[in-house]
């Protein structure tokens, strides 16, 4: 029985069974990543749909809810995440050119920015907690008797929570990628880093939409 080689195998001389050659394997891996990202789009899509539905049901309540968020913090966080995407793109580029050390450096930079994003996110959740904006767990006066404002925060926490989980998973993926990249023989012909990059950029895109619809509602 043919035992396939590990998925993150080096696409050097030979390809993993069932692939005929490295090019085919690469094609498959990147197609798989894109299909996977489509499923992610639909997963977040459900949350966006709920947002759309309830914002339409009560626009004023959503504006009131949004006004309670810490917009400056959100803006800084957006910048952080956009910058991390640049770092990721540079890491992919360096790896493609076969430059291992710069690639590792940019990867580390991406991860640090990702963690910074999470730290800032935690900080802003803390703010919301202290101001009693957390439905069910810590709902203060701002939410009292305002079910639709509370709904805004339910959507807010689900959306940002799901997104934060994805960032966390992304940081994990960066670590695994970095560790593998450090060992691989020929970084220039090694493609998993591209896939990690695609995933990271996708997570960034989700935030690009979450930011205005959560923080900038008027």
């Amino acid at each position: 029985m043919p035992t396939p080689m590990p998925i993150a195998s080096e696409a050097g001389a030979s390809a993993r069974v069932p692939f005929a050659d490295p090019a085919q394997q690469h094609e498959a891996a990147s197609a798989a990543m894109w299909v996977f990202l489509s499923t992610e789009v639909m997963l977040f899509g459900g949350v966006f749909a709920a947002y759309l539905w309830y914002r339409h049901a009560d626009p004023a309540a959503f504006a009131r809810g949004s006004a309670l968020l810490d917009a400056p913090l959100g803006t800084v966080n957006t910048a952080v995440l956009l910058t991390s995407s640049l770092a990721m793109a540079l890491a992919v580029r360096a790896a493609a050119l076969g430059r291992r050390r710069p690639a590792l450096g940019w990867l580390a930079g991406t991860a640090v920015l990702g963690l910074a994003f999470l730290a800032i996110k935690l900080l802003s959740w803390r703010h919301e907690w202290t101001r009693g904006l957390v439905p069910a767990l810590h709902a203060g006066a701002a939410l009292a008797a305002q079910p639709r404002v509370e709904l805004f925060f339910v959507v807010y926490f689900i959306a940002t929570g799901l997104h934060a989980l994805h960032v966390l998973a992304g940081v994990g993926a960066l670590a695994v990628t970095g560790a593998a990249l450090a060992r691989v023989r020929d970084p220039g012909r090694w493609n998993p880093i591209e896939l990690t990059g695609l995933y990271w950029h996708f997570v960034d895109i989700v935030w690009v939409f979450l930011f205005p619809i959560l923080y900038l509602v008027r």
Binding site: M1, Y54, E150
Partner: protein, 537 residues
């Protein structure tokens, strides 16, 4: 691969080890197909047991066999198990897994380990659901309508939701694997327009799995959050809107009904071609119809909500689109029928199943047109008319196609032949049992018997007794193949590589195939179903 490998007969994939470990850690798509086959058969038995109890209870108008609570848990369990743990994985995960690489001339699916992982995820989801079941069950119906499911039911909703959620990822990963495999691993010369129609239908199915299932996943998460945290998402008392839940649920579940029919259509195309020794009439149209069904299938979900409080205009739009989604199905039915013309038709067991599929899918599909007609749906929605509609398509159609496919490829999977006479007897029994079980339900629905009724007005008893009688015939019909197929594993006569004289790459390799499928990767030089006049003489 050397040429020497060509001559040397390779041991079959079944001989590649018979320890439990060799099965549970296999990455061979053919063995994974067996893992699914065994597990979904178990789930079918559980779902069937629930159906049996339902039909027994409905023998009398009073609720005398089980309590209300138990009855409600029974049909919920029946629906959940049958849909997510039997019918959705049935053809794709069993036959699809086995055949996709064989039919395109590949050694395996693109991601064999992911394929195994899908099965484990499926098992995990099943475990959660069974856990929910043994620890008391769940009584929301398979549709989990809010606010009943989130605020009123005091059964194991979250556990069940977790089970279905987890299983969803199994189906996403299977779909992803198929899509990538079909794009990248087709043998040289296997162009899209040479692809067997079974693969076109699986490709369309996979698209639906990949694009619809995530929405179900997030919806179930929202249910769990609302139920655990008691915050309003779908509960109007807390500012939410139950219609949003219904929209999200049906955005998945209507496309999901096409997950539950497209693969059956693919199986039927294969069987009809093989047993008429004819290329499927209008191959290109049948292929494209699969994609059309998958795409249009995403646009009609609102037809489940005609009386739910959906807007008048939305109702019109969804009704219109529901009529339109029938067109590609119509194209398929007509093309299958035309394929028989001037064919050389052998009424072997698989063909009997395929014919039953065409007939019952047509009937079931046509009853869908009643439901798409707004005023008729207003009358019969949430009655046994709907129950009959979907059982006709899902049991009469898809389960039939699944059994047909199982019989057709059984020699390939096992290297053995099943007893043909018993096969035909079972097929006919199933057809008759089916008709007796579900045709009376159309009448019940029209007469106004709502579904999910534990007790019912006495005037409906006669039709219900007929239906229950049919179900017992149906049960015999299902038990037969279970017995003789298992028996054939040991005693059945060996089958050659191509017992049916059919075309297709899967019939060019030994039965059962060796682990790597092909000694060398074939080069495809002709279209699918290239039967000649000589084949028909």
């Amino acid at each position: 691969m050397t040429t020497a490998a060509l001559e040397r007969p390779q041991p079959s994939y079944l001989a590649a080890g018979d320890t439990l470990r060799s099965w549970l850690l296999t990455t061979d798509h053919k063995r994974i197909a067996w893992l699914y086959l065994v597990t979904i058969t178990l789930f079918f038995a559980i779902g069937g047991a629930a159906a049996t109890l339902i039909r027994l209870e409905l023998l009398t108008p009073q609720g005398d066999l089980v309590s209300d609570e138990t009855y409600n848990k029974l049909f919920t369990l029946h629906g959940v198990i049958m849909v997510w743990f039997f019918l959705i994985p049935s053809v794709p995960a069993v036959l699809g897994n086995f055949l996709v690489p064989l039919m395109i001339g590949a050694r395996d699916l693109a991601f064999p380990r992911l394929n195994l992982l899908s099965w484990y995820i499926f098992i995990l989801g099943g475990a959660f659901t069974l856990w929910a079941m043994v620890s008391g069950g769940v009584d929301t119906g398979w549709t989990f309508y809010t606010p009943f499911s989130t605020m009123f039911s005091n059964t194991h909703v979250v556990l069940t939701a977790v089970g279905v959620f987890v299983t969803g990822f199994s189906s996403i990963l299977t779909g992803l694997n198929f899509i990538v495999t079909l794009h990248t691993l087709r043998a040289p010369g296997m162009t899209w327009m040479r692809l067997p129609l079974f693969l076109w239908s699986l490709y369309a199915t996979s698209l639906v799995m990949v694009l619809a299932t995530p929405v179900l996943a997030i919806t179930l998460v929202l249910i769990a959050v609302e139920r655990i945290a008691r915050v309003g998402i779908f509960d109007p008392a807390l500012g939410g809107d139950p219609l949003l839940f219904q929209h999200l649920f049906w955005f998945y579940s209507h496309p999901a009904v096409y997950i539950m029919i497209l693969p059956g259509m693919g199986v039927t195309s294969e069987i009809v071609a093989a047993f008429s020794r004819r290329r499927v009439f209008g191959y290109g149209f049948v292929a494209v119809a699969s994609l059309a069904i998958a795409l249009l299938g995403f646009l009609v979900w609102g037809h489940h909500m005609f009386v739910a409080g959906e807007s008048f205009y939305a109702n019109l739009v969804f009704s219109f689109l529901s009529f339109m989604v029938a067109i590609p199905s119509a194209v398929k039915v007509f093309n299958w029928t035309a394929t028989l013309y001037k064919g050389s038709i052998a009424l072997d067991t698989p063909m009997l199943y395929a014919l039953a599929f065409i007939a019952l899918f047509t009937i079931g599909g046509l009853t869908g047109l009643y439901l798409a007609s707004l005023p008729v749906d207003v009358h019969v929605t949430d009655t046994y008319f709907v129950v009959a509609h979907f059982h006709t398509i899902m049991v009469g159609g898809m389960v039939t196609a699944y059994l047909g496919g199982l019989h057709y490829w059984w020699p390939k999977m096992t290297g053995r032949r099943y007893p043909e006479t018993w096969g035909r007897v079972a097929a006919v029994t199933l057809f008759l049992g089916f008709a007796l079980t579900f045709f009376p339900q159309f009448a019940l629905g029209y007469l106004g018997m709502p579904r999910r009724y534990h007790v019912y007005p006495p005037e409906f008893q006669v039709l219900n007794v007929l239906s229950s009688a049919g179900a017992s015939i149906l049960a015999i019909g299902y038990a037969l193949p279970l017995v003789y197929l298992i028996a054939s594993l040991r005693g059945g006569p060996t089958a050659g590589p191509n017992p049916w004289g059919a075309r297709g790459l899967e019939w060019t390799v030994p039965s059962p195939p060796p682990p790597g499928n092909f000694a060398t990767i074939p080069r495809v030089t002709e279209e699918a179903y290239a039967y000649t006049d000589a084949d028909r003489e």
